[in-house]
């Protein structure tokens, strides 16, 4: 997950960095993964907002949401907050 570590001559000064953390996948932290019942989901998008990890994306072109397993840590907030109880957390 990390690039080859540079010598002091090559490293950027003072630790300044740019590498987006979207290259650091935290999805393997989870024990439980969210499972959505498409019938119940009203696409209210609350889960998209509440997810601490931004692991649920709103895809307007598909008019649907997408769960990103690469970053989902399995906290269950989405399941807990879903007004239609459309999400359950299942062991991965």
């Amino acid at each position: 997950m990390s690039s080859k570590e540079k010598s002091w001559k090559e490293a950027s000064p003072a630790g300044v960095c740019w590498k987006a953390s979207t290259t650091y996948l935290t999805g393997d932290w989870k024990t439980y993964a969210p499972l959505r019942d498409l019938e119940k989901c009203t696409k209210c998008l609350l889960c998209v907002l509440f997810c601490p990890d931004g692991a649920i994306h709103w895809k307007p072109e598909k008019n649907d949401i997408e769960f990103d397993s690469n970053f989902c840590k399995g906290c269950g907030i989405c399941a807990n907050e879903c007004p239609s109880k459309a999400i359950v957390m299942k062991i991965e």
Binding site: E5, S7, W8, A11, P13, A14, V16, C17, W18
Partner: protein, 410 residues
Amino acid sequence: MKSEVKQEVLGLNGDEAVAYAAKQSDIDVVAAYPITPQTIIVEKFSEYAANGEVNTEFVCTESEHSAMAACLSASATGARTFTASASAGLALMHEMLFVTSGCRAPVVMAVANRALSAPLNIHGDHSDTMAERDSGWIQIYAENAQEVYDSIFQAFRIGEHLDVQLPVIVGLDGFTLSHTLENVQVLPDDVAKKFVGIRQLPTVLTHEGKNVPYKLDPSNPMTMGPVAMPNYYFEFKRQQEEAMRNALKVIQQVHEEYAQLSGRRYGDGLLEQYRLEDAEIAVVCLGSTGGTVKTVIEELRAEGVKAGLLRIRAFRPFPVEGIVKALRKAKAVAVMDRSMSFGGNGGALYQEVRHALYDARAHPHVTNYIYGLGGRDTSPSQIRKIYEDLRKIVQTKHVDAPIKYVGLRE
């Protein structure tokens, strides 16, 4: 050496000289907090700001710690920043000094050297800056108000140099220099401005291979001051050390350029050697005491004594090579420390000078004189006594006490 530039002579004390030079340096942000004996610097600068004489934002922060944080942050945003402090204020900034040098922000700070509490003492000694010698800041000590004035401009050029990118302290002795009126030759505004120039930012290579200016800029977002785990931290510290090593050369270069411009030089910028070429006995010191020592040397020389002075101007980076070379003829050296390193083997300067000479071919006796703590005045006769001690050492080849205290009631 004569300067081509017409320079006005003003009556300024050390603090005023700092403020005047700061006024001429096209500073963007000053964030400062007052403390004796630096107060005149911030007051004078505030006066300039109130009269529209400076195009600078002057922020009166609520403490020195915040002053340094604000200076660092402003510097990280691309501004040229300046501040001043002393004693407890500098000590309060301690944490932030390391952060500033770690972030490679070329902040310039004038320190009106003053004793640290307790007990409270507002007078001059070097305990404040000595306590920060590991902080990664360049340290330059001035002998008189003229040198203070000259050093401020040089500090900006040294710190902002692309091979350096480190913060710089210019030290002036509390009250002795800060509050004493001297004749100071000042550069015309346009000449000074041209010398310091506009702050040039270094560029950094992003991980995508782009070269962008090193600053907080929405068009090139970057993260400054991240967490560096054990597998990364060390390399950043080594980079700072390399910058310090580069500073040895840069200090000399900038000093030389300024000397050509102003007609004034202080040795080679790192060290000032006064009658050292054939000196058998030498004193090493920092700051205004150098002036007193020079007076005593003139007296002794008239009596046929081969006395000399090595005034160290740049204490950080420590000019090892220069010191070894300068002291190669001396048989006995007295290092004067205006601060104490409690429990250490003598004062900080003594330790560093002695260490520098350890591997040198010439091996003079090196002794330590702790003096002037809490602003205690050191007279020419006391300095004479030091040279007498050195003569005795040369004669007897014996050191009775490696560490002595000048003017202490024992």
